[in-house]
Symmetry: C2
């Protein structure tokens, strides 16, 4: 009698709320009550730690990921071999500035990823610019032999913090080239971080063959403000040492897991994040959260015994941070192999509370995304709009013209407190926020599988 009643209630629920709603509810329940995302992130952050491409830790992360995927009994788990850049910070990294009265101030500095070292202690007079454009307009005679200081603060008034980041990106990415062209001996930048604090934020930079290579580092925002204040009073010299250097390219891997499609196994829905991270902190939000989100998303679907129509594939991409060789290699390998990809999704904006999804795609694809909104009415997601997919899945666009690239959109307000900084550790990720992200992605992949023709 009791079972009959339960069956009736279940049937009634299906009629009233639909099968999809029940499945989404089950996905959230699994993530929130029996979730493994937080413990998996803890293992990745605490048992391995930061995992820059080419490092021992990156290789440990590959092995840990493959072993973890194997425990979940997916249809297929495998490695995809790629070549990645290999840069190491070294062991010496210290910096000071000295004002004309001789006073020395120690500052918090991280070499930018890819920078050459200083070859012993380097010292020079500091010249400050607020933006890369201001630097470009400067006369070489004023720059020659000096240390260029690019002090552009992220704009706190931008509600979408990624916009503020994008606006400052050039000082980090192009600072060494532009300062080098004008004869500077080094470049230091204000960290691309929102709070005024003592955590420097590293990140990628580049050199050009035609321009002399100069060392490049990032100062903590509080130190950048202090240096700028000192410069207002007179001449300031900067003294620093970095013994970072570039090694030959290394062999590494994308790590892949799949559940094979039951109706269209040849059509692949791919979703992932990047397994590599910068070497400061533990790569918890960037992008430990993203790979763990996606692994948990597939685990939940498997656990609920869901039989997808399309093949569902999770990829832990290697080397997003300094070369994107994982993303670039993946797209050309799968294209060459004649595989068909019908949609891609990336999680690479941290483990914060979910707000929704964006899509890099056509108007029709935006309209398609908007059909997901009613499914998430009870789950507090509200962003379903045109947006950005992600760095790792970006190259798929060239190989599969017209493919929709979805990006998971968590709240962005705290992201640039931690991004590429020593503070991006496991403790900065909230368990429930991480679990809600995994549930959002798992249910989104489920709905994609259902809705895609």
């Amino acid at each position: 009698m009791k079972h009959l009643l339960s069956a009736c209630i279940l049937s009634l629920s299906i009629v009233l709320f639909g099968q999809d709603s029940l499945m989404i509810r089950s996905i959230y329940d699994e993530a929130l009550l029996r979730g493994q995302s937080y413990e998996n992130l803890r293992q990745l952050c605490k048992n391995i730690g930061p995992r820059l491409s080419g490092s021992t830790e990156a290789q440990m992360a590959v092995e840990w990921s493959q072993a973890k995927m194997n425990t979940y009994g997916f249809d297929r788990v495998y490695l995809q071999e790629i070549k990645v850049p290999h840069w190491e910070r070294g062991t010496k990294e210290s910096a000071w500035f000295r004002t004309s009265d001789g006073q020395l101030t120690k500052v918090h500095l991280l070499a930018l990823g890819g920078s050459i070292g200083t070859n012993g202690t380097m010292e020079g007079e500091v010249i400050e610019f607020k933006t890369i454009d201001e630097l470009k307009k400067a006369k070489a005679s004023k720059i020659k032999g000096k240390i260029v200081f690019l002090n552009q603060a992220m704009d706190a008034t931008q509600i979408q913090t990624f916009k503020a980041y994008g606006a400052c990106y050039a000082i980090r990415g192009n600072g060494a080239v532009e300062a080098g062209k004008l004869g500077a001996k080094a470049v230091i930048i204000r960290s691309l971080g929102l709070p005024e604090d003592v955590h420097p934020h590293t990140g990628s930079m580049h050199y050009e063959d035609s321009v002399e290579r100069i060392p490049a580092g990032a100062l903590a925002t509080a130190d950048a403000s202090a240096l700028s204040a000192a410069l207002e009073k007179g001449t300031v010299r900067f003294i620093f040492e970095m013994d970072c250097r570039v090694f030959p390219d290394a062999t590494s891997y994308n790590v892949i897991a799949e559940i094979r499609g039951s109706e269209k196994p040849e059509e692949i829905i791919v979703f992932g994040g990047h397994l590599d991270s910068w070497d400061a902190g533990e790569g918890a939000h960037d992008d430990g959260a993203g790979v763990i989100h996606c692994l948990e998303a597939l685990r939940i679907l498997k656990e609920l015994n869901y039989k997808p129509k399309h093949t569902l594939r999770v990829v832990f991409f290697m080397n997003e941070e300094n070369g994107n060789m994982g993303g670039k290699s993946y797209s050309s390998i799968v294209k060459s192999a004649g595989e068909k990809h019908v949609a891609a999704l990336e999680s690479d904006r941290g483990g914060f509370v979910p707000r929704g999804f964006g899509v890099d795609g056509s108007d029709a694809q935006v309209a398609f995304l908007q059909t997901f909104a009613p499914n998430y009415k009870n789950y507090d997601l509200h962003v379903f709009e045109k947006g950005y997919g992600g760095v790792d899945i970006g190259p798929l666009k060239e190989q599969y013209p017209g493919i929709p690239l979805f990006g998971f959109v968590p709240d962005s307000q705290r992201y640039f407190d931690y991004h590429h900084a020593p503070s991006d550790v496991f403790e900065s990720v909230n368990k429930r926020e991480l679990e809600l992200g995994a549930a959002a992605i798992s249910s989104f992949v489920y709905l994609l599988d259902l809705k895609l023709k």
Copy 2:
């Protein structure tokens, strides 16, 4: 020429985006670039700390608030005298459980606010119930002389965490009365917190004159799980000491600041939070953030030289946590004084990233609230719906029938990590999230002032 150009651009902006949009932008800029909310919260949390009604710290908080308001040059700053309950935790608070094999486990316990002490060490056999209803159905013969353990976990699958809190509220509020009716010697509850951790969460409870008073405490969730696991294996005894006690009611104050209305000074828009907090932690999210939000909201309007039509009044209510004498007294005092209140708003859900506003009001008032949504299109607020106002402003409903009670709605996912726990400290509040909350409330009050007839 340059000024003329600027004037033209400004005029054009006003035409294109409207005066309101410019004002909202200015409010956000002030909050994010020159905001004082974070530093004010630091002073309240670190220089004063927890501030339970009747304590020295509560009085210090009243004086600090009045002095701070005076620095902002509002039209009027004053205290409103009220009577509040006075309960003190005392200095002894420790607890263990002992299994039948003699093994002793120390647990983290906080007396519930208002509880009597144990009068020395108390020991008794534990009997567990999952809900208050389960307890109510139990036979007195099974309960008599025992220590009742109410072990209802907050439901992690509720996306709106306040719903999960509400569902467990009875074990804290009514546990002592229901257990006392059946002859229990004490009641201990599983803390009303979402994470499984070692922070006990205190909060209010009540006694009834017709039922013998028994001591009541809250165990950390991790300890509650451990105790429950021990009970599955056999008899368990609980041993604890608490020397908390009730003192005679004390004199205290609501703290009030106003900018006088230029067109309808007799019509008051009141907004606030509560200045008192529990004595564990620093009352940072609950409700330091709320009072600081509202103070900053009024400061920003004053700083921008806004001349409101209605009188804008901020109230720091006293004693929300254990009696609501601030809210109750305020509503009857202002009604008796013949004051007219046209709208009320409360911030008492923490200093997290803003999601929007709810209103406790009529369908027409909900429709009115929904007219605010377009104003916040660029500010990432999306909740404009029927909801709850707040405990402090609740009594205004009786005195001013039909008054809309607005509640500020920040994200709720992390709130019950900290609520009433030692972990609710300044460091748990993110600067930018706090500032965005202040900007949302300041602009909302501005729009209310404009839109109210």
